[in-house]
Structures are given as structure tokens and as C-alpha cells.
Symmetry: C2
Subunit: 510 residues, 2 copies
Amino acid sequence: MSGESGPADPRTGQSRSGPAPATEEDIATAVTAAVSAGVEARNLSVHWWRDALRAGAAALEDARHELVEMADRETALGTERLVPEHSRMCGQLRMFADLVESGRHLDATLDLADPASAPPRPDIRRLGTPLGPVVVFEASNFPLAFGVAGNDTASALAAGCPVIVKAHPLHPTTSERVATILAEAIRAHGGPHALVSLIHGGPDVAKQLVEHPHVAAVGFTGSFGAGRALFDLASARPSPIPVFAEMGSLNPIIVLPRAAETRGTTIGTQIGSAVVLGAGQLCTKPGLVFVPASADDLTGALRNAVVSSHVRPLLGENLRSRYEEGVARASARSDGVQRGEQTGGDGFFVSPVVIEIETEQFVAESIWKEEIFGPATTVVGYRSIEALTAAIATIEGSLAGAVYADPDERVDSRSAVSALAARCGRVVYEGPTTGVAVTAAMEHGGPFPATTAPGTTSVGTSAVARFLRPVCFQSMPDDLLPPPLRDANPLGITRLVDGEWTSSAIARDP
Amino acid sequence: MSGESGPADPRTGQSRSGPAPATEEDIATAVTAAVSAGVEARNLSVHWWRDALRAGAAALEDARHELVEMADRETALGTERLVPEHSRMCGQLRMFADLVESGRHLDATLDLADPASAPPRPDIRRLGTPLGPVVVFEASNFPLAFGVAGNDTASALAAGCPVIVKAHPLHPTTSERVATILAEAIRAHGGPHALVSLIHGGPDVAKQLVEHPHVAAVGFTGSFGAGRALFDLASARPSPIPVFAEMGSLNPIIVLPRAAETRGTTIGTQIGSAVVLGAGQLCTKPGLVFVPASADDLTGALRNAVVSSHVRPLLGENLRSRYEEGVARASARSDGVQRGEQTGGDGFFVSPVVIEIETEQFVAESIWKEEIFGPATTVVGYRSIEALTAAIATIEGSLAGAVYADPDERVDSRSAVSALAARCGRVVYEGPTTGVAVTAAMEHGGPFPATTAPGTTSVGTSAVARFLRPVCFQSMPDDLLPPPLRDANPLGITRLVDGEWTSSAIARDP
């Protein structure tokens, strides 16, 4: 913190001092150190990595009170939200520690020599190897779980990659503190000095990081504009690198007629509460809800749950102004905009909003397919299943979608699930799109514009695959192979050997 | 074949008639039909896909004589090379049929509900789903195995994606025939009409295909220039799509001092023969060989194996002129260029070439890091292990690399293998880089500029992952889940259930 103008307090709007942006030299130093750390890190054992990730989790766990207070002061997200987010951050690091121990992320695949096949097949053994230094851009809305020690960092470290984090300018103090704790825990555990480092700055610094020739990949969670800009920079490099950007998303919910008829109030309240959760600053916020045009109970309950809620201030002035612009654009196009009360004082408070339109208008105008980040949602009334289907067909990629349906409307449920699966990374049944479980089967991703890499996820154990590059070894003597591929299977991991999963050693003829 | 000016006969240089390039309307029709085929294809069972791929393989097998003759007329690669390539094409389709049956490519992952965890974990189940219509660009140098029914097409079909193939202009007749046989076999098996289609044309047609909003991904094998151009077009789209381009590669080989001393002649002859295989028109041709500067036996044997060989004509006039330009550039920079005899008559014959330089020159000049496609290689003499290490450090990504070493030089072997693994997708011990086994463990890929997607492979079963997008289902009723994810495991596939691989059904409490 050097006295530069920094982020303002969301509760009061008063500005605070912030860190100075990194210089070109700072960036060069950070990347060079990361490259060296990556080379050193190749000699570290699986057990070292497991224990280092656990040591990081334990140190962050110990600092819970301090980190939650600090994050709350910077983001105003509230301690009741930040305490579980802190637990999630620590849990993610531990999950990746367990994954590293299992060796599953290496995708170790062995095809033993078969001299009898035509042509004779040599011995071929493959595993994932670290891609190289990864630049991680922190999200604004999850200062801990998608922050310095969040998913992207944890999964890149699990892959064996050094990480340079670009701090989010709305919570630099929290970023500094988490980076210090994590890096110190890794160093205390005997790790290389620069396995995790932190850089402050704006778009210029971001550009320099993404264009640095020794940076191998980028992880990002944030707005469509910023994610697309990073993707464009990375793709235009002399040597392009992958950008795993998780960007905006509408997260459509479909409520089928019978469900709306029999449980409209319950469903409307549930969806409305999900809209205002965290002041609507969630990448999985339901931004689009398709309901029968006649479902007054449902729409009323949803409207009420949204507009009657006391929402927290948004994270920053730019988020507030973009929210207000989005609501103004919608108001210019529709009479169906309902605004709630704006609570709070001089901070970045906004009123929650429900926009009500019908499918014809939704299909005809592109504005309804633009995300409004914050406590707003668009309720689209449909007068027939055909009108619903036609409307869904105009939606682009989203992170998640959901279907509410009664058991006796299975045919339409099947179509709805299938239509959402064609556009989303995750399809929920009978629940809102918010809430992302951190498990092996989670898919937090989706087709563009939800992400720039539809084959990947940024949450769950599969996130590590983004930062690994397969290498195979042909006819290699056993002692020259990486340990996970050796005959004896010294790490005891599960491997695909000649098409079968096994944790056994390779038996050799005596 | 419509009487347009087409590719010339490589053996005589005489031009032939070729197909007319596709019009904008042809392209629009093909993509629309592919989209419909993709939608229809979603309702086809795993067993349908397995049998369709096998039916395609059988029909192409039946046409072996015709296809080999046809491909030889167009490419002059020789029947002794094209017969095994034809077998490989059919074998690849069968391998993907087996993969589809195993369900392994779906990466089915199930995390069952755990109401006791904090927060309570919902039931989450994930599998790979088809990305959508894939445009495949045929390679020039493998008219069958990397052609219409080659790796890219077979793996995209295995993923459930419709394929539009852009025929290579150097063997359009073979492309037409293979496309007809494969598409007819799929249709005879009851498949959608446009699951595989063929488009002819040049860069304009390529651009229109890659920019078409309904195309979801691109597979490509060919030159760096063309691959990079397609990547740039795809990345600049309003909705970017992945390009899996396998491009140029130097494929460095390191011969360590003791190996050169004890077996120089054998090793030199083996590497030299690999250089001229298929007139050097292989993506895995050893284009760079590091040998001790004093290894005269080895260098002599290598030089002799290359310059004394009677090489076939190159595939086309543009390949010949690019080859001659590359050799001329090298000759302008070095006295160490040795040319063999140019055999043959008016066709696209060239003389094989060995370029001999030392590490200092290699490190200093970028020209030695440019691929010369054809029967040429650069032998780089090193005077110390330090000089070798410094030279290797200047090499970019390659598909493959190789190390020749004696058992008593293990320390240097380990460094050499590790240096190549950091730059290549595959590292061979005691053999040339040519020869790509089609297995589960194969990695035919590598860091840029070898490919545009270092995390993927274009050969072997893992190639299918390029064309799949994970989707997870949360709290979904069993009958609304895709069959591979249902409790009963009706397909009997191996799934990762709560972290364990199993092919068992999910047991439910009564």
C-alpha cells in the first residue's frame, strides 16, 4: 500500500489508498522468478506438493478471522458470506492436495510394447506435465474462493505450474495478505521462492503479463469485456497461449406450466432469493427466468422476493455504473421494469430490479441477452411450449441453467433439459443455478460467451487439466521415465495400462 | 471433377483437371445439413456409433486396391507406403469404434449426493457431449490416414460431431472417393445424411468455413502458415472456436558422445533413412540432429544415407518451390550443404540435402530453426555437453524428439530426455522420431509452433477429447439423465463414482 488512489469503501463510497501498479521491471522480475521456480519445482515429489498445498490451506485457515474481516472491509460482502467462502478456499486447496496424491490428474496411460502387432507396437507411456508459468486474474466478487489462493491458483499449483496472480483492484489488501500467507507457507515447507507471487495494476499491467513470452497460460474470472480482451491479446502473440476465461452468463431457468401452477409461490420465492444473493454479484445468478405468461403467483412471488430485499452495496463504483446503465437500457425498452428500494447511504448501493417481458420481445431484441451484473433478472413470459422453445433457441452459452417441472410433464422436461444442456455447462433440476459444488464431477464452464474454452472447467478437480500438457515416452528405459510411469508404479497411482485401470505394478518376465 | 485446373502429376508435372471450388451457397448448405445431422445424431445409441464406424472401416477396407491406386496416381507416394497407410486409416476407425463402445471417452464422473457434508453436496454427474459441426482440413502428405476418413474425422465422429472435410487440393479424387464410401456406409447403416461431407476449394473457401457461425471446431494438419492463418481467423470470430492445428516441426534428435563413438555408423544410417522416408514429407521427420562435432563415422553414414537415396517426387509444385527456397537460404548461410542426385524427370523431384553446421552458428541464427519440408536435415555438431545444452535451449516446440545414448551415460541421457520433454509431445529413446503408433498413450502434439493446442493430441484415442464438451447434471431424476450417467449403468461403462473407477451400477437404498 503506497498511498496511490485505491478502491473506495463500498459502504461509504470513501476512497482509500491503494498499491502502486507494477512497473515493467517488476513484471520481468516476477516472470523470470516464476520460470526458475517452475524448473526447481519439477524436482519436487508428489508428496511435497500434497503437503505444500495442505500447509497453505492450514496457514490460511489459521488466518480466518483476519482474512474475513479484511475482505469484508474491502468488499462489503458480509462476514456471513465470507466465512463459508474462506472455508471453501481452504477446502479447495486440500481437495487438490488429495488429487495430487491420487495421481489421477496425470492421466497416466501406458501401452506396453507388442512386437507381434502389425506394425510392431513400441512401449509408449504418457502423463501430464506442467505447462509453465500461469497468470491468474483474481475475480472481484469472490475475494477468497476465486482470489489469490482460489480455484485457478490451486489447480495450477496442483499441475506443478508457478503462478503469478494479478490482484483485483477492488480488494488489494486481502490479495496481499493471502499471497503472503500462501507463499510463506510454501517457502516454509522448502518450496521455491517464487511459486506464487502477486502483481498489482490495471489494463496495461494485464497486457504486459499476458504478452510476456515466458507466460504459458492465463486463468481469468470476470467480465466479458476484460476476458475477451485478454483472449485477443493471447491469441495474437507470436506464440499464442491458452486463456481460460470464465466470463458473463445469463444462466436461464425454465419453469414448466404444471410446476408453475402447483408450486408457483415457492418456486418464485426460491428464484428471487437466488437473484439477490451477494447483491446478485454471482456468475451463476439466474439472469433469465422463463415462466408461463399466466403464472401470476410465481411472477408475483419472484418480483416480491427481489424488489423487497435489502441488498448489499456493489463492490465498486464501476460495477454500480454498469448496473445502472443496464437497468436504464432495459427501462428504455420495456414498461415491465420494477425497482425495489435502494438501501444504504453514500456507498455503492443500488435497487434490486425485475424486468418482465414476453417471448416475442425477447426473441426480437438482442438487449435481453446481455447480462446485467448485480441484483436484476429478466422474467420472460411464454404463452406456449413452442414459443418457449423458440426463445431458448436464441440464447448463447451460459455457465448453468435450471428446470423446474412436475413429474407428470416429462416430455417437456426432457426437451428443456436437452435444450439447456446444448447451451450450458451445468443443468440443475428443481433448484436455482447458484451454488457451485467443488467436486470431481463439477462443470463450471460452458460455450462462448460464458467462457473462452468450452472443453474445460474452472471449479472442481478437472480444473487442473487446463494447466497440464501430455508428453509420451517411447521405448524409454525404466529409470529414465518419470516415476509415475515406471514399471514398479512407485507412487501407487491408478493408471490406464493396455486399456484397463489398475494400480498394480507392471510384471516383467524374469 | 469439373474440368477446372487441378493438381499436377508429381511424377511428370503434367496438369490434370480438378474440382470446382465450393460456392458460398455450397458452404451454407453443407453447414446447415451438418447442423441437422448433429441434432439427429444425438439420438443415436453408442452401439449405433460403434457399428457405423466399423461399417465405414469395412467399406474402405473393401476398396483398398482402388483407393491405393488412386492415391498413388495423385501423390506418387508409392503403393508400398500407401498400402499400410490404408490399413492404418481403417484401423483408426475401428479403434475409435472400440473406444465408443468402452465409453471411456465420455469421462463419465459421478459424485453422489452427500447431505451430511458442509455445505450439503447435491448429486452431480458429468459426461462429454459433442461440440458441434467440425471442419477438418485434410493433410497433403497422408491422403488416407490424415485424409477424409483420417484421425481428425474418426475422432470427431467418435465424439458424435458431424464433419465437413475441406479436401486437400493435391489429391481431390482420392478425397471424393473416400468421402463417398464413408458417407454411403454411414447412410446405409441408417445414419443422418450429412454426418460426413466434402468441400473443395482454396483459402477463400477455408476462410468461409472457419468463420461460419455454426462451425464449432477445426482440425488441421499442414503447414505453419496455413495453420496459423486458420487459428487467427477462428480466434477473431465474434464467437471464437478452437483450432486444433498440427503444423511444422523440427523433431530434434540428440546423439550422446558414447553412443556416437560405439555405434556411429548404425545410428547415422538409421537417422538418414528416416530423413528421406516418404521424400521427407513427414511431420515427424528428423529435421535437426545434434551429434558430437568429432563424430565423423556417424555424420558420414547419415550424410551418405540421405544424399545417396533416390527420393520420390514431392507432392506438388508449391512444396517443391518451398523446399528449394529453404535449401537456397541454408546454402547462402553455410558451406556445409551437401546435395544428392535429383532423380526422375519433369515431375516435382528434388535432391536430398544434408546441412552441417556447429552449435555456435545454430544458436546465433534463426534460419536453422525453420522447418524445410522435404528430404533435408540439419546436422549440428557440438563440442561439449554445455554447448549442446545451450543449443537445445533455443529450440521451440516440436511434435517429437529422440535421444541415442549408451547405458553408461545416464546423467547426460536424463538431461537430454528432460530437455526434449520440455519442448516435445513425444520423446523416443534409441530410435528416430518417425513412426507414430496409434494407441491410447500416443501424444502427437506439442507446444507452439508444433500445434496451436498443446494440451491435445491428433493421433490415438485421446484425440476425441478435442471435440467433446463436458456437461454436468445436478439433482437430475434418473430417467432425465443421459443413459451413460444413469444409476443402472445400462451401457456397462467404467465410470468414476465418488473418486473410484467402477463399472458397477449405483446401489440405491430400498
